[in-house]
Amino acid sequence: MTDSNASTNDAPIVSVRKVEKTFRRGGEEIRVLDALDLDVPKGEFLALMGPSGSGKTTLLNLIGGLDQPTGGSVVVAGEHIEDLSSRELADWRAENIGFVFQFYNLLPVLSAARNVELPLLLTSLSRAERKRHVAVALEAVGLSHRASHTPRTLSGGEQQRVGIARAIVTDPTLLLCDEPTGDLDRKSGDEILSLLQALNRDQGKTIIMVTHDPHASARAARTVHLEKGQLVSSVVAGAMA
C-alpha cells in the first residue's frame, strides 16, 4: 500500500544536498547540520528521529522554507529554498507546505473553523469557497461538529486534529509534522497517527514527521535517524499498525 505511493514518481519531492546549518550563539558557532543528504519521494510517509538537540526541527524548518541553509542546497517541489527571498518563501510556503506543530499552535481567539480558514485567507477564494474547503478539511479530521468551538474548549487530540485540518486545507504538496503526538496521551496520539496515515494512504500526501516515539515512527513507511548533524541510518518499516 505504501509502496505504490512511494514509487509513483521518480523525481523526489524533497532533495537535500550537502546541507550545512550553523547557528551563532554568543561568540560560538554551532554546527547543527553537516553535509546532510536526504531524498523524499512523492507520496512517502517519512519519520525523522534523533536525540534532543540533534537538529530535527532545524532540518524540518529548512525543508519547509522557514529557514535557509548555511550551505548546500534544499530543493522542495522543484524550488531551491536557498535562493528565495523572505517574501518569496512566504508565498511558496502558503502554496506548498502544511505545518503541524507539537503544541498545535492554534490561535486561541479564533474558532476551530476560523483557525482552519487562516491559510485560505491568503488565496483568492471567495468566502463561500473558503467555507466549503474548511468544511471538507474538518470533515476529513472528523471534527465537523466542533467547528464553532474555540481551542480552549477542545481536548489536546481535538486541537491537534484542527491543526491537521489547517495544514491540509490548502491541499499542500508536503505535510511537515514536528512531534505531532508529543503532547498527547497514547490514545489520542494513536488517533492522530491513524489520521496522518490515512492522509498518506488515501490522498497520497507526502508526510515528514519528527518524533521521539518509536511507536509513532512505526507507522511511517521509512524512518531516518539524525545524529551529530547527519543521517545515520534508514529503516524501512514493514509494519502497518
Partner: protein
C-alpha cells in the same frame, strides 16, 4: 475584509485591556472635541465681526451715551452706507438675574440694513414694523425660554425703569435665525421708537452706533472722518473696526488657545505611550502566533499591516466615540448661553480629529508592528508553550 475576524479576535483577546485603552483614547478625543468647542465658542464673538463695520462709541466709555442725531451727521460722511444705533437695555426677565440675555432697542430697518447676519422673512420684518411693542428674538433664546410668536414678555430694567416702575412689556413678533452657525442667536431686540417715547429721561440718547462702510479697505479713513466730525463736541467719539473693537477679546482667546493646545499635546503624548504600550504588549505575548501566521505564508508586510490595523482599530473605536460625544454635546446647545451663545463643534475639528485618530493609530502601532515584522519565523516558533 477577510482579515476582520482575525482583527476582532485579537482585540477581544484581552477585553479589559482593550476596553481601558479604548476608554483612554475616548477621553482624549472627547477632551479634544470639548476644548475645541469651548475655544470656538470664545472665538465666535470675534468671527461674527464684519470687516465692513465700524463701532462708534463715546470716547470716554462704552457706558456713556451718544445723541441720536449723530446718525444724521454721520450719514453725510463719505463712505458711510448704513447706520444702526444700539443701546444696552439690561432688562431682567422674571426678576431673576440668572435669566440674563442681551436685550436692546434698535430701529428695525437699521438692524436689517447693518446686520444681514440676522435672518428675517419679509413677513417677520413687516410684523415688526407694524407692531410698536414688537420684539424679535434669536432662535437660541426662544428655545431657552420656550417663547413663541405672540408671547408677551415682561422685562424690568434697572437702567431704564418705566415711570410707574412697572415692567416693560414686549410682544414677540418674529424669531430670527443666524446666517452662519457662528451667528449669535441669543439676543432680544425691540423697537427704539417705543423705547424712546416711554423712557422718562435721557431721551434721544443711544449707547453706540454700528456703521456699515461701502469699502472695507477704507474703513480706517471713515473711522477717522467720523471722529473728526465730533471732535471738540461734548460727546467725542471713538470709531474703530468691529474686529479691532473685539481685539482685547481676541488676545484672550489667543492665550486660551495656547493653554488648550498645551493641555491637548500633553494628553496626546500620554495616549500615544498608553496605546503604544498596549500594542507592544499585545505583540510580545503573541510572538508564537505571529510565527504561526508567517509559517502559514503571511508575509512580513502583511503581519506589519495587521498590527497597524489593530492599533488603528483601537484608536478609531475610542477616538470616534470621543469626537461623536463632544459633537452631540454641542447639539444640545450651550450650557451657558448668556456667556457663550455659540456652542458647537465645527466640522473642521472633526476632520482634524479624524486625522489625529489615524496618526495616533499609526504612531502607537508602528514600533510593535516593525518588531512583529522582523520576528524570524523559525525563532518565533521556538517559543514553545508560551
Amino acid at each position: 475584509m477577510k482579515f476582520l475576524g482575525l482583527l476582532w479576535g485579537n482585540l477581544m483577546r484581552r477585553k479589559l485591556r482593550t476596553l481601558l485603552t479604548v476608554l483612554s483614547i475616548f477621553v482624549a478625543f472627547f477632551l479634544f472635541g470639548l476644548l475645541g468647542t469651548i475655544k470656538e465658542a470664545f472665538a465666535a464673538g470675534v468671527t461674527v465681526s464684519d470687516a465692513d463695520r465700524l463701532v462708534v462709541r463715546h470716547r470716554v466709555s462704552l457706558f456713556m451715551l451718544l445723541p441720536i442725531n449723530y446718525a444724521t451727521r454721520m450719514r453725510q460722511i463719505d463712505g458711510v452706507e448704513a447706520i444702526a444705533s444700539w443701546t444696552w437695555f439690561g432688562g431682567v426677565y422674571k426678576d431673576d438675574m440668572k435669566n440674563f440675555f442681551p436685550n436692546m432697542p434698535v430701529d428695525p430697518d437699521a438692524l436689517f440694513d447693518v446686520h444681514p447676519e440676522y435672518v428675517f422673512t419679509d413677513a417677520d420684518k413687516d410684523a415688526w414694523r407694524t407692531t410698536r411693542t414688537g420684539a424679535v428674538v434669536g432662535e437660541t433664546l426662544a428655545d431657552r425660554f420656550g417663547w413663541k410668536i405672540g408671547d408677551r414678555v415682561p422685562l424690568k430694567s434697572p437702567i431704564w425703569p418705566k415711570p410707574d416702575d412697572s415692567a416693560w412689556e414686549f410682544d414677540i413678533v418674529a424669531i430670527y435665525k443666524g446666517k452662519k452657525p457662528t451667528t449669535d442667536t441669543s439676543s432680544f431686540f425691540f423697537r427704539y421708537d417705543y423705547f424712546d417715547e416711554t423712557r422718562p429721561n435721557e431721551k434721544g440718547k443711544v449707547g453706540w452706533y454700528m456703521v456699515r462702510v461701502s469699502d472695507p479697505d477704507r474703513a480706517g479713513d471713515v473711522a477717522a472722518a467720523i471722529d473728526a466730525e465730533f471732535a471738540n463736541s461734548s460727546a467725542e467719539t471713538k470709531a474703530e473696526p468691529e474686529a479691532a473693537f473685539q481685539q482685547g477679546f481676541v488676545e484672550q482667546i489667543g492665550s486660551i488657545g495656547t493653554i488648550l493646545m498645551s493641555i491637548l499635546s500633553a494628553v496626546f503624548f500620554t495616549i500615544i505611550l498608553v496605546a503604544g504600550n498596549t500594542m507592544a504588549q499585545a505583540v510580545r505575548e503573541r510572538t508564537q502566533e505571529i510565527g504561526v501566521l508567517k509559517a502559514i505564508g503571511f508575509t512580513d508586510a502583511r503581519v506589519l499591516a495587521l498590527v497597524i490595523a489593530e492599533s488603528c482599530s483601537v484608536a478609531i473605536l475610542g477616538g470616534a466615540a470621543g469626537l461623536l460625544s463632544a459633537w452631540i454635546i454641542g447639539q444640545f446647545g450651550s450650557p451657558v448661553p448668556e456667556l457663550l451663545p455659540v456652542f458647537y463643534l465645527p466640522p473642521s475639528y472633526l476632520a482634524v480629529g479624524a486625522a489625529l485618530i489615524l496618526a495616533l493609530g499609526v504612531a502607537a502601532g508602528i514600533l510593535p508592528a516593525i518588531a512583529a515584522m522582523r520576528l524570524h519565523v523559525a525563532v518565533a516558533l521556538r517559543r514553545h508553550g508560551a
